[in-house]
């Protein structure tokens, strides 16, 4: 039997990006870790989903290496994490580690609820792991030079899912990637009870309006205010696209306030050929497919406008931080670091079908196998030219999605002029 110390060292060394000695100074201190880490995430401690299985694995590995440490997972409903965390922080009962959506990062950070990770992350993590994370995500967590969180599971948020069998009816392999071509195709895909295109327009944290707008590229967001021009020429063009999709029957004017979950259910029962979907649910979509073969499911970027590249709006995505009020920030940070070990990256990929956080992990032969084909498609989206995120400090983040969704419902369901609808949205936001 290997001795406990030896075991611990080898594992930790592996964690340190495969570079054996860089980690040594850190090893000495990490052996002393003891206490309890409380984690708030949407993953359950006893959950059965692949991500939950992997999280359990990571925790087991962490507590094996730190026998005096207790890791407590307290799952919270995923839409409530940020709100619960800020309330808990104000009342001095926050957990040590928090999972949250990047769109709320600016607000949570402004409330002083997150610890500055620059002071906490180990030297080897900074040298070996940080540069290995996707910069587009990692840099968004840096506020005024201070790193307040680490992104987890690189992935586009709202992607286009489509049925290859439906597209094949038109002799196509995938939906066209410019709106000019997409619109007629989506119209022709409407057949019988099936609609060409399905958009969720009632979620409070995403809006298809902004996803369509992202076809104009990152310049839609003002660099200083973080706002987009709600009633500008580009927004009006989005309005026209929506109106054309309604006119040619691709969008239904009686399907106005579906949530992402509703679209998902109805896609399973064959109602749509193409939908806006929450990209991390790809495997789930496959599983519940009832009216078509799950293997016909595929993912695409959003069409672009004119000759712009297809758009990929990365967000909201998950990001992990340490509470500013944690009693044991060193321990909390050590646990957070363990989420990004190479083994962890491989487990997230192999068990849960997620793009690995460590870019270097993609060199693993596993990603060349047919099993990893879905992951491969997602990594391609991440390196597409039209990739962008939400601005770091997007104003009125709790209002902008519901307001734009109501505008979208009005565009789809009424005859009111595009200008009037967008002007009202603009004044509701007060932008």
């Amino acid at each position: 039997m290997k001795s406990k110390t030896f075991d611990r060292r080898t594992v930790l060394r592996a964690c340190a990006a495969g570079l054996a000695f860089a980690g040594l100074p850190r090893l000495a201190s990490s052996q002393a870790l003891s206490g309890t880490v409380r984690i708030w995430t949407f993953l359950g401690a006893d959950g059965q989903s692949p991500r939950e299985v992997v999280l359990r694995e990571i925790i087991e590995r962490f507590t094996r290496n730190h026998p005096d440490v207790d890791v407590v997972v307290e799952a919270q409903p995923f839409q409530e994490l940020e709100v619960k965390f800020v309330a808990a922080s104000a009342q001095n009962r926050a957990p040590d580690v928090i999972w949250m959506r990047d769109t709320f990062l600016g607000l949570v950070q402004q409330r002083g609820a997150l610890a500055n990770l620059d002071d906490l992350l180990s030297a080897e993590f900074k040298t070996n792991v940080l540069p290995d994370l996707y910069p587009v995500f990692a840099e968004k967590s840096v506020f005024d030079g201070k790193r307040s969180s680490l992104p987890l599971w690189p992935s586009p948020a709202q992607a286009i899912f489509y049925r290859k069998d439906a597209l094949a009816e038109l002799g196509l392999e995938a939906p066209p990637l410019t709106w000019d071509e997409f619109i007629p195709v989506a119209g022709r895909l409407t057949k019988g009870d099936r609609l060409g295109f399905g958009l969720p327009t009632n979620d409070n944290s995403v809006s298809a309006f902004i996803n369509i707008l992202s076809g104009f590229g990152p310049s839609i967001f003002d660099a200083t205010t973080g706002q987009f021009d709600v009633a500008g020429a580009e927004a009006k063009e989005v309005g026209n696209v929506v109106r054309q999709l309604v006119a040619n029957g691709a969008l239904s004017s009686t399907l106005l306030n579906a949530m992402g979950d509703d679209i998902q259910d109805q896609f399973a029962s064959g109602r749509f050929a193409i939908v806006q979907a929450f990209a991390p649910r790809f495997q789930q979509y496959k599983q519940i497919a009832a009216a078509y073969d799950g293997n016909d499911l595929a993912v695409s970027a959003w069409p672009g406008f004119g000759d712009r590249p297809p758009a990929v709006l990365l967000g909201p995505y998950w990001t992990v931080g340490v509470s500013a009020k944690s009693a044991n920030p060193a321990l909390a940070t050590a646990f957070v670091e363990s989420l990004y070990s190479r083994e962890a990256s491989m487990s997230w990929a192999k068990t849960a079908g997620l793009v690995p956080d460590r870019m270097s992990a993609l060199k693993d032969p596993y990603f060349g196998t047919p099993e990893a084909a879905d992951i491969h498609n997602f990594t391609e989206l991440l390196s597409a030219p039209g990739v962008m995120t939400f601005p770091q400090r997007m104003p009125d983040i709790t209002k902008v999605f519901p307001v734009m969704n109501t505008a979208l419902q009005e565009l789809i369901g009424t005859d009111e002029s595009v200008d009037a609808i967008l002007d009202r949205a603009k004044s509701t936001l007060g932008w």
Binding site: V83, V86, N202, T254, N257, A258, D262, Q266, S269, G270
Partner: protein
């Protein structure tokens, strides 16, 4: 109680004071709990409604700004309009239905109580569970329960929750489904208090069933009907879980009632100052409704005595 025959004024005072002390200390614990759980937080809520509070950060005293903004906001008035529509349309369906059920249950005798039990099952369920259940039943697909019924009649499945015309009526039907049977119980009680002789006399006088319903049942049932109406009014006016679960206030704000606006403003937009202002307005409206309710009860008790 046996008083000492020659009690002095002083000892009577002592007795009265002692009785008062005992009485107050018996009410004390209940009062304390109710104040701590309901009243103190409500007062704090009122305090917050006078401040600008966003995402748990108090940005300072705002006076009546939250209230004046609401008064000037056309969406807030629309929300009040929709609350009225939702409340009164639900009432208009629930009360006749409850009356019909109450008369049916009484006529059926033993089987009637079985029927009543069956009808009351939805009332025992939680609103959030009811919302989940109906979301599932109404899935607009031939694979959903209601969708399959449409398909059986040769119609495509309908978007009952996402169509701007159909969403509100659908919501109303679900709300009525959940709790109309509760009103039935009270109406059965009311019907039981109408003397049977009156109906016999009516049939001797040659009144048909409809005439005796209009001339005897309705007037004598009026007190129970008023109780039912005021209780259901309060319940429908405050309904929010069903709306959150089924329509999320949409489509195009068609189901954004005042209660839903409270939730949306305070818990989605996280504008907790304004959210509490809506809560204060709702509290005042509720107090008004309860006052009417108590007045009706008082009258009824007076009439019975």
């Amino acid at each position: 109680m046996q008083h000492p025959p020659l009690a002095s004024q002083h000892s009577l005072d002592v007795l009265a004071r002692r009785a008062r002390l005992v009485g107050s200390s018996l009410v004390g614990p209940a009062l304390l709990l109710v104040v701590a759980i309901n009243i103190l937080p409500a007062i704090y809520g009122f305090y917050l409604s006078l401040h600008e509070v966003f995402f748990f950060g108090n940005e300072g005293f705002a006076g009546l700004k939250n209230y004046t903004e609401l008064l000037r906001d056309s969406f807030a008035w629309q929300a009040i309009g929709r609350s009225l529509l939702f409340t009164f349309a639900s009432l208009a369906i629930a009360v006749p239905l409850a009356l019909l059920a109450a008369m049916g249950v009484r006529r059926l005798g033993r089987w009637g109580s079985v029927l009543l039990t069956v009808l009351l099952v939805p009332w025992a369920m939680s609103p959030i569970v009811v919302a989940l259940l109906w979301k599932w039943i109404l899935v607009p697909s031939p694979g959903g329960l209601v969708g399959a019924i449409f398909t059986a009649f040769g119609m495509p499945p309908q978007d009952l929750l996402t169509d701007p015309v159909l969403a509100m009526p659908t919501l109303i039907i679900v709300a009525v489904w959940r709790n109309f049977a509760f009103a039935t119980i009270i109406l059965i009680g009311g019907l039981g208090q109408i003397p049977r002789d009156l109906y016999k006399a009516a049939s001797v006088d040659g009144l048909d069933a409809w005439e005796s319903f209009c001339k005897i049942t309705l007037p004598l049932l009026a007190p129970s009907l008023l109780i039912v109406i005021s209780m259901l009014t309060i319940s429908y006016f405050n309904e929010v879980q069903l709306i959150i679960g089924l329509t999320g206030g949409g489509p195009i704000r068609q189901t954004s009632t005042l209660a839903y606006s409270l939730y949306h403003t305070g818990f989605v937009e996280l504008n907790q100052g304004k959210g509490n202002a809506i809560a204060v307005i709702m509290f005042l409206i509720n107090m008004g409704l309860i006052a009417v309710y108590i007045r009706i009860l008082g009258k009824q008790a007076g009439a019975a005595a």
